[in-house]
Symmetry: C2
Subunit: 307 residues, 2 copies
């Protein structure tokens, strides 16, 4: 089954203890698409500027990603610069130039309207909701958000959360939405706002999926997937979006959606996140094989499973 992602395409400048790169292709939709492309057909709705060249597009095309929904607007593509110090968990933003992304109004090509799986990457919640409402036949919607929207547009976000089946956010965002410092309690509050399942990403400690009672199966037992202990994290940019791409891409590739599929999807999310951080930008995600992915999945299993 195809999956549609709506989100940002960007050019990034990134500094980390491992080096420095400039003007490399990034953005949530890019990381998501590349990661998901190893599991299913991917369609992208995004906006880019005049500086988005055929070579940039070729990065996506090479992975068979459908770029029909990438709108070209006059002006420059969204640009972001960030620096990671020794603590690679957090970036210091050096600059943000929204450029053409500032007025982004997602337009869904009619060829995309039959897409059954949808991922709403981190954009204004009102845009997320509008996209979801336009996509009538969607079977499962995943979504992301961030502290900016949680604080500035709580009402709009609440509307969107009612339309999202699986929300993927981090610990801080979960606690911020819920106004609650205990994670399982915060998760319960977030689930009460709409989503059937909540994936909380813990960075280097993996991720936990919480279920609403009765959603995708029986009971409310959560499930945890690890992250891989990695000797050299070169660039954590896009790890969360790559996680979402692996998670949603795997789900879209399966006939059924049940707890066991969602649990395996959580592992595949971790797997794709672990590849993303091994090189700068999307480099590692551009040249994987399904064999490498499955070998790493096996590594994640050995990392957590008793005999």
């Amino acid at each position: 089954m195809s999956i549609l992602v709506v989100g940002s395409v960007a050019f990034d400048n990134i500094s980390s203890p491992a080096g420095h790169v400039e003007n490399i292709l990034g953005g949530a939709a890019t990381y998501f698409s590349l990661a998901a492309s190893y599991f299913t057909n991917v369609r992208v709705v995004a906006v880019v500027g005049d500086d988005f060249s055929a070579e940039h597009e070729a990065i996506l095309k090479k992975r068979n990603i459908d770029t029909l929904g990438i709108e070209r607007a006059p002006g420059k593509t969204f640009r972001w610069g960030g620096t990671y110090s020794d603590n690679l968990n957090e970036a210091k933003t050096d600059f943000t130039e929204l450029n053409v992304f500032e007025k982004f109004q997602p337009r869904i090509p009619k060829e995309y309207l039959d897409t059954r799986f949808l991922f709403l990457a981190n954009i204004h919640p009102t845009l997320q909701a509008a996209v979801r409402l336009e996509m009538n036949g969607v079977r499962l919607t995943g979504g992301d958000t961030m502290n900016f929207w949680i604080q500035r547009t709580p009402k709009e976000l609440a509307e969107t959360l009612r339309l999202v089946n699986v929300l993927l956010i981090n610990d801080t965002e979960t606690k911020m939405i819920a106004g609650e410092s205990n994670l399982p309690r915060a998760a319960k509050k977030v689930l009460a706002l709409g989503p059937q399942a909540l994936v909380v990403k813990h960075g280097e400690y993996g991720a936990t999926i919480f279920f609403r009672e009765g959603a995708f199966g029986v009971g409310t037992h959560p499930f945890r997937a690890p992250a891989l202990p990695i000797d050299e994290v070169k660039d954590p940019t896009g790890a969360g979006d790559s996680f979402a791409g692996g998670f949603m891409g795997y789900i879209a590739s399966q006939g059924e959606i049940n707890r066991e599929v969602l649990k395996r999807a959580l592992f595949y999310g971790g797997v794709m996140g672990s590849f993303a951080v091994e090189r700068f930008g999307t480099e590692r995600l551009q040249n994987l094989s399904r064999g490498e992915i499955d070998a790493r999945f096996q590594l994640f299993r050995e990392l957590t499973h008793l005999e």
Copy 2:
């Protein structure tokens, strides 16, 4: 097989969002002993003051813990007061009165000298080393330490690390010993200082065990165990020592020591830590059954294992 723990017995005042308690029995050796007592026979070497009553001793005796090695010294028992705010991961120390613990010189009763498993809880590394050297027949030594010794007595600590088979510390301590901010690299450096295995405790995210090449098995693949998402953490005091008690106690109860045993021990560590935090002080650890422990072990398995 019996296990001997050397460490502190204390009286604690604890405040958390869930309430306040005063003068309750605590200390690393107490939490460790109670947790380990569900798996094996436990012997304790510690020092207490005049205020340590028969009722306090009865808490240990009831769990069949051998208290012969608990020395009574004139004066007061070690006292500690701490407050947890909404973020239950870290305590603010309200007061520390070392009292009789200040001059603690562990004396091993001759009846204990044949003990095959040893846990050196967090005390001065020179005392830890002296105990280990006195115990000739020891098969496996576990150890703990803290930032205070890492910073103040690095040479003494280095001596002790050569005598410890499994070191159990947290992320910050691991990175501090290694002078390295990447966890897997830091773990490798710590293992190069002596221990065959290193257990890094991640608080609410569980724990990872790293192995030195060839130690207890083949290869260097780490293993991760989860922590249980808990709706109400009443009191995190002693969670790490309870973890160590479950971990070491389980190992001591097994005939063989191999990777699979150490992995299961990591799960049992998490299990005992999860019980400890559900009530103030050692309350929950005093009244468990092996059935409850095994049911929770099963919960940990379901939390992490794919079909």
